[in-house]
Amino acid sequence: MQGIYLDNNATTKVDEAILAEMMPFFTEYYGNPSSIHQFGERVGHSLKKARKQVQALIGAEHDHEVVFTSCGTESDSTAILSALKAQPDRKEIITTTVEHPAILTLCEFLEKDGYVVHRLKVDTKGRLNLDDYKKVLSDNVAIVSVMWANNETGTIFPVEEMAELANAAGVMFHTDAVQAVGKLPIDLKNTKIDMLSLSGHKLHAPKGIGALYVRRGLRFRPLLRGGHQERGRRAGTENAASVVALGMACEQAMQQMEYENTTVKALRDRLEQGILAAVPSCFVTGDPDNRLPNTANIAFEYIEGEAILMLLNKEGIAASSGSACTSGSLEPSHVMRAMDIPYTAAHGTVRFSLSRYNTEAEIDKVIAAVPPIMARLRKLSPYWSEQGPVCEPEKTFQPVYA
């Protein structure tokens, strides 16, 4: 498929070498890794290698601290539910208002069962206030779950520091790091992080494979019970082909980390600056000084995100939006709302997320394509006049009933 793919925080292309590596596991190496015979043994060895590759990327002290799962969401659910099960007397959870739905929806569900959820607020740049955090840390808290980097804005949270604070208070700490793994250096053995979720399809492995890091010795209760796979922490026959793919993806990510933080970052900056210079009334959301190297989230005021995406798509450019209309929920992104982004802008946020496969030529095409699209939609907008936004848009345009 031709086109410019700038939606890598949603999912990534499977690297060709990774695909080649996993293929034999559908044909030749189909054995069950639990089996004693040669068919199983061959697969078992490959899983072992993959586990070490994941271990290396996240800096875990032991390879058996890596538990393979089916996806990031499973890892998140496993972590939180395990902490609650293992510590039945602790009925509180600390998280943030800007987590992925994998965490937030689970927390809402747990509230119905009587758990108390503390959701830490963010400021207009999407940053946490650690004083708020310290206030709610107590013996009643079963687990703190804070994302390493935000999927929409790329804003990075100080999870290492927060884990130290949790540890000092005797509270378990989990981080959803699906966006951070492979883009930021992570060295778990030198942190107090107890559990970490990662997902294969965010780093050029296929969909349907994830992992949960569980610190050695941490009290743990499995989500899936059954066979002895993953040392009894995650029953179910291993998804061998995908585990192998995840292992290789982690090894590649390790090698590409510098490239991501130099070349990809430079491309991102080029894109962002190019757009900001050419389009009036737009701004970067989140914390530009402290974010993932591949993510740019730009709010285009007075126009709506779905319309932007449809026109971008027509030009062959793939991105995503925090607009209400693209989500099906009719509410603009909870992340934008949490940052107090005005409605005039929240509906028009567009996330461009790059990967190591993007080129400078692609970025320049996007920079050229974006301004006319915004001008075209603004021409249709009742909040925009020839010269720019109408003054005090909420007052000038006052519909009779909303």
């Binding site: 409605y343 009779v400 009933y401």
Partner: protein
């Protein structure tokens, strides 16, 4: 992503009548930026014969909002004002070859803008019942009269339908119970039995089983009871239909539920076994002991007095 018809795409990628009309004498503005869509409709009406000479729109919104606005302006040009008022939101959706259910509210917005523009032309105050109604959905500022109207006109039966047409309930969802009440009241006012939610909504996983799970025995109101009974019958119906039969609720008398078996089921030697199975399901669903009898038993029991 949404599945838009070619017509929607055509009107989005190449909108007709975009922009405000110079010298417009009918202006309608609806929606709000907080909701994510807003529309200003400007019409130029010939005051001699009330014919709409020209129409223009300015829309802040998604693809289907822009397409709906474009379609509306195309539709009303050349119509008299009275004729234009007969255009319904469904007409707008039909003109576009249909809209995804979640996007029906875009066509409603078009209809409302048209009403507002005509009111403006006639010098009428458009601040009617909309201002006085009870605020139901706080997230989108939707009041009861708006929901009532959409329920009436489009014969909506579920919260999901209402959300698709008005946006009400699409946010924090705390008003869902309230919306259900408004739907029920509106159908009552229409003097028609509401079609049993054969709507697009998924079975509400919390609702029915929760009653059982909490072990509330005998505390269901008659209406709730009947709802549960109908649900059980709906669940078994496909099985009965597969055998060429059907079942419907006739009456509830205390702990006895009378069911009429029809088609291949009536007179079938296994009818009592079928009802036995239904009874078991009823007991589980209602959380109390009930007896399920064929309606033919009703007369006998009544005769016994």
């Amino acid at each position: 992503m949404w599945e838009y018809s070619d017509k929607v795409k055509e009107h989005f990628f190449d909108p007709k009548n975009a922009g405000a009309i110079e010298g417009a004498n009918a202006i309608g503005e609806v929606g709000s930026i907080s909701c994510g869509d807003a529309l200003r409709l400007t019409l130029k009406v010939n005051e001699a014969d009330d014919v709409i000479l020209d129409a223009g729109f300015q829309t802040f919104g998604c693809g289907s909002a822009i397409a709906s606005s474009s379609a509306l302006t195309e539709m009303v040009k050349g119509m008299t004002v009275d004729k234009a008022l007969e255009v319904s939101n469904q007409d707008i959706a039909d003109f576009l070859g249909g809209l995804p259910p979640e996007k029906m509210h875009c066509s409603v917005m078009g209809k409302e803008a048209l009403e507002a523009a005509v009111a403006n032309y006639r010098g009428e105050e458009r601040l009617d019942d909309h201002e006085e109604g009870e605020l139901v959905c706080k997230c989108f500022g939707i009041e009861a009269p708006m929901i009532e109207e959409q329920v009436r006109v489009n014969r909506l039966t579920s919260v999901e339908d209402v959300t698709n047409f008005t946006k009400a309930g699409g946010g924090c969802s705390t008003c869902h119970e309230k919306i259900e009440e408004v739907i029920a009241k509106t159908w009552e006012a229409m003097g028609e039995p509401m079609p049993l939610a054969a709507s697009t909504s998924e079975p509400d996983e919390d609702l029915v089983p929760l009653v059982v799970a909490t072990g509330v025995k005998g505390k269901l109101t008659m209406v709730q009871k009947i709802k549960v009974i109908e649900q059980v019958l709906d669940d078994v119906r496909p099985t009965l239909k597969a055998d060429g039969g059907d079942a419907e609720l006739v009456d509830v008398d205390g702990k006895i539920i009378f069911v009429k078996l029809s088609g291949a089921c009536s007179g079938c030697k296994l009818a009592s076994a079928t009802l036995g199975g239904v009874q078991q399901k009823m007991i589980e669903a209602l959380g109390e002991f009930v007896k399920v009898l064929p309606d033919t038993e009703m007369a006998k029991l009544q005769a016994q007095g």
